[in-house]
Symmetry: C2
Subunit: 314 residues, 2 copies
Amino acid sequence: MGKYVFGVDVGGTTVKLGLFDVEGNLLDKWEIPTRKDNGGENILPDVAASIKAKMAEKNVFKDDVIGVGLGAPGPVDGEGMVYGAVNLGWGTFSIRDTLMELLDIPVKAGNDANVAALGEMWKGGGQGCKNLVAVTLGTGVGGGIIVNGSILAGALGAGGEIGHLHIEDNETERCNCGNTGCLEEYTSATGVVRLAKRMLHSCDTPSMLRKIPEEKISAKKVFDAVKDGDELAIKIAEQFGEYLGKGLGVIATIINPEMIVIGGGVSKAGKILFEYISPYFYKTVFKGCGNVKFALATLGNDAGIYGSAKLVLE
Amino acid sequence: MGKYVFGVDVGGTTVKLGLFDVEGNLLDKWEIPTRKDNGGENILPDVAASIKAKMAEKNVFKDDVIGVGLGAPGPVDGEGMVYGAVNLGWGTFSIRDTLMELLDIPVKAGNDANVAALGEMWKGGGQGCKNLVAVTLGTGVGGGIIVNGSILAGALGAGGEIGHLHIEDNETERCNCGNTGCLEEYTSATGVVRLAKRMLHSCDTPSMLRKIPEEKISAKKVFDAVKDGDELAIKIAEQFGEYLGKGLGVIATIINPEMIVIGGGVSKAGKILFEYISPYFYKTVFKGCGNVKFALATLGNDAGIYGSAKLVLE
């Protein structure tokens, strides 16, 4: 009989769970709702109950389970301590110790974006790498950095906060984090829309984007227009590429990764993104750190459960 | 009888060597010349001979030596492979394997600036930390990053290249690395002089710096004038602080260190530097990564031998 690991990805609405063998084959995956009431006190007991039920269903015994990995949407340090997770109602406590007590199985925990980066390294777009930067261009910009095969968690679990890299001195609108000029303000899905609206108002260049009601403009529509050769949309893509290329160039100068993996909704535009990112990346990056492969993320929403499972196998 | 480690710091002119006990007490230190002829082929044999001679002198037997650590001025990865060191004439080869063969003692190797950061963490300004950024403001700007107690070497040993962080889009003068707008261009000793000359030419503000022949202006003279309340020198210090504060804010957002240690010639200005760095650091850094202590480096030129020794004890 083989050995198993569980990967758990706690989100604001649902908790995703996966059962894996030690080679990383996903044997089963399912979801449970995230109960956020009472400071999210039910979340880990619900996770434990769901794992126990799955073990009973699959005839998996405790001794067959190497461990449970868990990713959570907040800063989590290398010891599994979470320093608050606003979206779950969580304060500061040890995820690892709490869940280990409930299950009597070894537990490891990490930040969800960091864990997703580990997943992409293990079974996704970054396979074969030990030093990797993963960027998720979604509603916000998330990031995870893998150094020598392990998550860069930082002193208080806030390592790899790529979305809040300061990139623009002349910004006046505030980012959600309270600062101004963060990478997220220009390269998230909402950031691309911000760039688009500013561009539409600042010039008279004709564009198919002008035919869309302004509140319906999306990152997808911008990049669709880019693919159709729309002059204005291409200008927007160039701004996007300048910000992201510079930001990734700065990160690569510090980290010296082998690979940068780009995921999230905006990345559905595909490899065309790299055309706009590359010139600014290579202009910015220290030459000794410039030997970097770019790839698209491939695991989508499953990156979190893969990475959480991998946490246990490190 | 106790156990020992050797720390070796290979520079362009001399090789510094230290004999330590395992608690990190420096028992002896000495230097030998760096023979760079013939592609630097004599350097490691000279190091090995010098260590053997010291062992004979001190009656230290091979079994008493836990290992030899070595820092070199070039990119060195986590396996002790150097990817060229121009100042020594070295190409790409395994420092670890070469020196291990000569000594029949375990060897570890790292980049000199990274190793110096490890030294400051172990016995210098960063004691008690496991996540640390060290910046050396000398002729150039060197840097080393420690993540969870270990050097961030990166894929090709070029991690932590803080001096070549892109920080200014509007620069036209090239950095030694070939890029423009690197942190080193403004915050090294020569960078401070660059800022000073530009400031002197761009305004008529009276200043004691105008009484010095321009070719004699140094970072020390600028910061001495700052301490005397010189208005123009204070403007230069503010520019310096803006560049370094922003750069360190960006690095801290990615790394989430507990401490930033500043060393090198420019740091002899002392804690006054922090007054100019802090406002821009806190404006730039992601709030979750802002809980950082600043300290001055304390080991000076010995940081390299301390850090090399610590490499072996990790």
